[in-house]
Symmetry: C4
Subunit: 387 residues, 4 copies
């Protein structure tokens, strides 16, 4: 795995992010129409390998329904506004209309409201009624309690998610979630994460999960990286988790999907995640820009409201198109944020591969992340000469 001397007697691996690699075109090209980008987990199968993140500015009941109808999967956060408030939209109004200065404190206040179990049940049933798969998430501490409720209410997939999740949690005072027992108790597929290393990934797979979320502090500007110093760029993290998946498959015969989560905005980033070994990707900000997103052009993280250590502000992302346009086009923007499905297919076409699994082996180069200076030069570089 290489490694470079960082100190006199200490080596570190170099980890790579999306901005630092590029995909190499193949020796053949393939008609995008012939390319299959579907993804499945358990018995459920999806047209596109894209999940919408369990964030309150992105996924509500309606968004989850629309996403499902379009062939994707949205995850509803059971620890968010939707399950704390009977009428979440009044609360979102408050977030949206708060000033940048107040936002953190207002978010902290709003998320102090307790989660109601009856709302968990209610939201799941609302989505279920539309006959689309229902995925919900919560943090490990609440999984044992909310898991059975969600399953009972009709959820199809349960996601256990925190900044860092490992198979083993050590505490002298709190009871840790036994993920292995939890997976056995649940009759629906469990997705867990996030993690970034081979070993942590492998051990999580051994607990019985069906898919793994990959991504901790992916970018240099990430708050996890800034505030805690912790993080691994996503190309390397995804590749390492994918290596664990392949090795686990060899020894167990069971295929656990890798879902790269975080750090992707453009279609190019998604393509690079798939080429790094991801079976699917989980996206937040791109969907926060959809007309269907409850955040109305605003986006915030679930850690922004942390009482002790709030991380990541509320951000104005704007509304740029419908969910359908974002997923399937036609694109009206030229920045790679729309028609993500076609972008994946076109990329695979150039790389000469026709399934996501083949995409896992596409050649990459390490390419400079440095962009030319000066607006003129950059603008000119952006011109795509050829159709």
């Amino acid at each position: 795995m290489g490694g470079y001397y960082v100190g006199r007697e200490r080596k570190a691996r170099r980890a790579y992010g999306f901005d630092e690699v590029a995909l190499v075109p193949g020796d053949k090209t393939i008609d995008p129409q012939d390319i299959d980008i579907s993804w499945k987990i358990g018995d459920l199968s999806f047209k596109i390998p894209i999940l919408a993140a369990a964030m309150d500015g992105v996924v509500d009941v309606n968004f989850a329904i629309q996403m499902g109808k379009l062939g994707g999967l949205a995850v509803l956060n059971l620890g968010g506004i939707q399950t704390r408030y009977e009428d979440p939209y009044r609360v979102i109004e408050e977030i949206v209309h708060s000033s940048s200065k107040e936002a953190v404190e207002i978010l902290q206040k709003i998320y102090r409201e307790p989660i109601k179990e009856e709302l968990i049940e209610k939201r799941i049933k609302e989505i279920k009624k539309a006959k689309v798969p229902v995925a919900v998430s919560c943090i490990p501490q609440q999984a044992k309690k909310f898991g059975p409720i969600a399953q009972e209410a009709g959820a199809d997939i349960f996601v256990v998610q925190a900044t860092v999740v490992t198979a083993k949690y050590v505490s002298s005072s709190k009871e840790a979630l036994d993920l292995k027992s939890f997976c056995q108790q649940m009759s629906i597929p469990v997705i867990a994460g996030n993690c970034v290393t081979y070993k942590a990934a492998y051990e999580l797979m051994e607990t019985g999960i069906e898919a793994l979320l990959v991504g901790v502090g992916p970018g240099a500007a990430c708050t996890t990286r800034e505030v805690l110093g912790v993080g691994v760029p996503q190309v390397t993290a995804t590749m390492d988790a994918a290596a664990a998946r392949d090795d686990y498959l060899k020894s167990s015969g069971r295929y656990v999907s890798i879902i790269t989560d975080g750090g992707m905005i453009t279609g190019g980033d998604i393509c690079k995640a798939l080429a790094s070994g991801a079976d699917a990707v989980m996206i937040g900000s791109a969907f926060a820009r959809a007309k269907e997103a409850p955040g109305k052009g605003y986006h915030w993280g679930m850690a922004t409201s942390d009482e002790n250590l709030p991380r990541g502000a509320r951000v104005r992302v704007g509304t740029t198109g419908t969910l359908k346009e974002i997923l399937y086009g036609p694109a009206r923007l030229d920045d790679g944020s729309q028609n993500l499905a076609w972008a994946i297919k076109t990329s695979m076409s150039y790389c000469g591969v026709s399934t996501i699994k083949q995409m896992h082996n596409v050649e990459m180069v390490i390419a400079p992340a440095i962009k030319s200076e000066g607006k003129f030069f950059q603008d000119v570089q952006r011109i795509a000469k050829i159709r």
Copy 2:
């Protein structure tokens, strides 16, 4: 070829772009007057190794004529405005006067107008009348149809160009262009591209083409890179294609020219492309700034009008001088965008080489792309102390 661990079990090569390398002066210097920078393809020979790209803001009939008279070669796009409209200038007016917001949609509308075969014939004859070589281009899907028309009308060179072109195209529903048959059918030289790898380059050479266009997503800000994740920086791409050219020459006895296409703006970039192994370069934006350019100071890519996935906006580049000044000076700007021919000769003079083929072996160093911070420091650095 080296390679670095990007993931636990996965290596990637480091690819280099123009900003990251610099040419090393030679052990002797040569009088620029004694330096030969001519280039040839088939029986045609050109004073300068510079082609103007088949873009609608750059090349029209008049531009192609002026370029030919000055010893260069301009390629007219058969899929552009010139062959869709009897009077293309009214349409260009519309593009130029549209707002930035409307530009993509207006371009999409304009390029919906069908291509007229009689206009293909007409444009070629208009250029031909001026007694300069005529080069035209189209995408692979239209080559079989437009190739014979163009040749019949008097074209001297035919260019088959798409973002990525490979010798093999796989489709379950569409007929693929058989480039080998096409080259055999055409009696004029065929140029094809773009490609960026050794293998793809070698296989394209085997089809019988006379020259190869090299360049896919060259820069970090490139739309192909941003939207699709695909691309290889140009120094490495050119070197790899040049290696294929040299190996193919050894086995076949036939020399196929390498034309580096894209990512170059200044004379310095062109010099680096030649030192990477290019026989010639294809330039867009530098020519969009010519008084003779039909775009009137605007520049846009052929993919901007893509119905599904528009890539790259219309950019205001301004008009900075005549085509003659851009190619042969005297330069009135000090930024390396004028007097390109003299810049190449001066560079070769310092490198101690007197032909383009010798330039292919000039030593390079990897030099930091990072520019000093602060305008003052940068301005001061720009001062060329010595004549």
Copy 3:
């Protein structure tokens, strides 16, 4: 230790800074409540491994008392305003109200006032009265004189500090401080620095000091680096000093603490310093932003007033919270500058370690320092998706 060719026959090691590395989450996670971040020197023990730097905008008597009560340690500069002026606050007013242009000259003037021995005694006693440990510092040239005075007055720790301190100082005209004799004469623990190399660190440890300050020109924008060309990024410097500590422990049986000093602003930087091998960190700017800081939102270095070669301007850092909030939260900012103790614990929790000594062995990756371009992208990246 590796090394790369910088010149034809000359190699240099690559040194790394905080921005270039990131910590890798562990295979287990630990309850932050169970994590011990205490630190000790001699018989004194501290709740948190954070020292406040001996800078006049940061530490005065009151600040030192508050810091001590909160379980940390502040160092009072014996060569600063507090010991030159009976009423230092009038002088600080002058600094704070000077224009940016005047600031250097005003600082030069203010620091021309001689140091008064009676004020040394007075300040130490003022702190001592609050029953918190007293730490004071001076430059090597003054140590022999001020050391005994400070010890006599009740100081608990004495710091000998200059930009670069080595065990051996060569001068034809001045008497050099013999650090070994000095340590023997002093009955309280001596901390010395700064240094950045293994050998210099080892030799300083041999003089009998209890802790070593590490850091010379840590960042690229550092004035020591800019003005003198001298400096070593902090991750590498800390690792090398830590290697010296470990080797010195093996041969002498004595453990000398490593205190990384300089270049850290966020909690993330502190976590990386600890993971590089530091036992504690010394911080300036983060504390200059405390309500208790004497600088009232302004911050300046002790070299700004240098008569010959002033380095580093007076900077407006603003006042963002109380010292308590900065150390223990609750954080009201999301940028990693508040609740540093909890940030360290959370980071260690994710890394799966429960003591600072274990933190010394946490895995790092080299991760790109390059941040995405464009405010939108950066803002979105800052969102912490998961709690």
Copy 4:
């Protein structure tokens, strides 16, 4: 010498610039008062190893006199305004008062005026009268003619300088300067350059020159790099030339000084050049800011007026202090642009060396050139904590 794969079958060395390295403090420190930074060429000896570049905004008769009196050496350009115009100050007024747009054309016009031999004689005598060493320069094509005139008039040092100078110049129509014969004919020391490679440096030394100027396209923003693609970062270039010097000394017994020329602005850059092996440095912009500089706060290169390919604009650098302050302080700026002599001594003090020759072996590290983002963070980093 290492090397990395840039293309499939092509390697390139990595070359380093000032921004990418930093000096490592030594194991001992030395009293700056005991440090010797003198430099000599032939029989002439100078207090400081700093030359002022032969640029028209920097050196005129008066500046050369002041520089000489202060123990340095200024080179007067025989191809500049001073020898073209009886009254050069009227012409400088015109340059200074021209708009940015006109500047290139006005410079081109001004430098069309022929050089007058009587003015060469006159300027040299004017400097000579002040009893300071006189150094003058011209381009290789004029050396044969101007050399004897200058020597006759009393010049002490003759500089032959062009962007790239090699021992061998090939031309079918022009007579090349035979540098070996020239050196033999001249009874005063000859300095020649610029060059950047070991071989070119070695061959130039063999012609009999006393000192070598090193530097071609040192920075990424350099016009030679931008316009022509040619250049080598200065740390590597200096190290390679110094290796040639050392090898040439071994075989010939003759020591040829290395003068690093270009790319340095702060004292830190100068210190790094000396540590790379330079015996002295040649500086332009830092002196253009002196009150004594004829450019009155403006600075331009000798290539700005090139008729064919003007490179590098006229830049407003401002006037920041007297020449004495720039060289010997006291500094009133904190950015490393003043008190250069003391900066060199302080740097050498920290590195533990007392002569320039010892400085040649000081350890360097490769340190990231990347500066932290955000003005606040940068400002805070600039604070020099310790005196």
